[in-house]
């Protein structure tokens, strides 16, 4: 049974489905809403949001970085999340904004010092994320820096929260990204450098993980740059098909973004 959060009658509603994202969504009061008509929100209200850079063998090669010895982890704020079928702002001067399809792991328990062999026990479920990056804003300080990876509404998440028991093996899932139906990324979670279990063990070795912590587990190779109006779909087999459209944000530009001294 998949879970979603939508806006209904002006309020946030929890919905459940055994169908696709255009099918019926059943609300708590038994009412049904069409997924096609719904306004989708991120399916989880996050606590901490962790993200991985360079966690797929082919993507590391593509960026000409050696595979890291320890996970390359960065953090994101909740301002960056947006739901299925939302619009993400594309800065007016950005020519190198690109989508990144990622398996999102949602933590279900408060835990520390979790062993890798027990790690999936603390997973509540999974979702699909699109960890957009604006490459030209990259700087070599705490990289990837927040101006690249913490932009408002630039990390779609959804459509679903899929409970852990509905995914047989998170390490055997196909990922795919298309821009206007043209494929730009294809991969499998088999190719992760650090597995979901490795990441949970690593993070919990030095800090307490909490329910609704989310780990965005990295993206495979394939870099496709987007233009305003482009429709991007990031999908993971069994977890969901997450759609997003780019809208020109002419309010932003390098000049205005503190990039001057």
């Amino acid at each position: 049974m998949k879970h979603a959060r939508i806006l209904h009658d002006g309020a946030v509603a929890d919905a459940r489905s055994t169908d696709g994202e255009n099918g019926p969504l059943r609300l708590a009061d038994g009412k049904e809403v069409s997924g096609r008509e719904a306004t989708w929100l991120p399916p989880v209200i996050p606590n901490a949001i962790f993200a991985l850079g360079l966690n797929y063998f082919d993507h590391a090669k593509e960026l000409a970085f050696a595979a890291p010895a320890t996970p390359l982890v960065f953090l994101k704020g909740p301002n960056t999340l947006t739901g299925h079928r939302a619009e993400s702002p594309l800065p007016a001067d950005a020519k190198q904004m690109h989508p990144e399809c990622e398996l999102a792991v949602i933590i279900g328990a408060r835990a520390k010092n979790v062993r890798a062999e027990d790690a999936l026990d603390i997973v509540a479920g999974y979702s699909v994320a699109n960890d957009y990056a604006v490459r030209e804003y990259l700087e070599n300080y705490y990289r990837p820096n927040l101006r690249v990876k913490n932009r408002d509404r630039c990390t779609p998440l959804g459509p679903w929260f899929v409970p852990r028991e509905d995914i047989k093996d998170p390490m055997d899932l196909e990922l795919r990204t298309t821009i206007n139906s043209v494929e730009v990324q294809r991969g499998s979670t088999r190719d992760m450098i650090f597995s979901v279990s490795d990441l949970i063990a690593y993070l919990s070795s030095f800090m307490t993980l909490n329910p609704n912590d989310i780990i965005l587990t990295g993206t495979p190779g394939g870099v496709g740059f987007v233009k305003p109006g482009d429709v991007v779909v990031t999908e993971i087999a069994g977890v969901g098909r997450l759609e997003n459209t780019l809208a020109l944000d002419d309010a932003s530009s390098s000049d205005q973004e503190g990039a001057r001294k």
């Binding site: 982890v73 704020g77 990289r143």
Partner: protein, 233 residues
């Protein structure tokens, strides 16, 4: 000195998972640090000095209260400890201007930022910065109007009664107002979010057993101690 109580639904540290705001910190915001490191910044992996504000996050598990004992992580001889003024955001803040920036701030807290020493600024230092309890926060806020000149706040940490190096917000590369503008130029700060405005890169050394007293102009001091690591060596 007036104080503003933060709004919270349940007792305990001000911000709880699910209810909390997000904690952002400004790194490399002291001119003295930038000058000291200028040669390093010209070399790989940096190449050029930073342009946009250099920011990090402290996750919610880092919150701790005045009087807490904070466990030193295993295999870490000492933590670095230094103070930030902590702005608490009151209203949704996007694209702030110098004229309106401070109107979005509910008040200021005293934050003691504990982290494992890390020299490299190339990659995010999550492991070093996000240990449980590594951001003790004062339990009361001070109103901006009670702080006087925001560019004349001084801060220091006493370790076992010995006063460490002091810094002043006069030394900020980006003033508090400028920082608010430059951060909100590309990301929105929400009510309850916290922005740590800048502290020396290298803090005072705090070993297991150390008693720390953190000072910031306009605030009662904040006291914590560092306890030994529970993990076996």
């Amino acid at each position: 000195m007036a104080s503003l109580l933060p709004q919270q639904a349940t007792p305990g540290p001000w911000a709880l998972p699910g209810l909390s705001g997000t904690i952002y910190g400004a790194a490399l915001n002291l001119r003295s640090d930038l000058e000291l490191m200028s040669e390093r910044f010209a070399a790989p992996p940096h190449g050029t000095p930073p342009k946009a504000p250099v920011l990090y996050l402290k996750t919610a598990n880092t919150l701790a209260m005045d009087g807490a004992a904070i466990e030193c992580p295993a295999n870490t001889p000492a933590l670095w400890a230094s103070v930030h003024p902590a702005l608490v955001i009151d209203r949704r803040a996007t694209g702030l201007t110098p004229a309106n920036a401070l109107a979005h701030v509910r008040g200021v807290g005293l934050a003691l930022d504990l982290r494992a020493p890390h020299e490299s600024l190339h990659r995010p230092a999550i492991r070093e910065q996000c240990q449980d309890g590594s951001l003790p926060l004062s339990s009361e806020l001070t109103a901006l109007s009670d702080l006087g000149d925001l560019a004349a706040l001084t801060a220091w940490v006493e370790v076992d009664g010995v006063r460490g190096a002091e810094f002043s917000t006069a030394n900020y590369a980006r003033s508090i107002v400028r920082l608010l503008c430059d951060v909100t130029a590309f990301m929105t700060l929400a009510p309850g979010d916290i922005l740590l405005t800048g502290t020396p890169h290298r803090g005072a050394d705090a070993k297991p057993g150390a008693r720390l007293r953190a000072h910031l102009s306009g605030f009662a001091p904040l006291d914590v101690c560092i306890s030994p690591s529970k993990a076996s060596a």
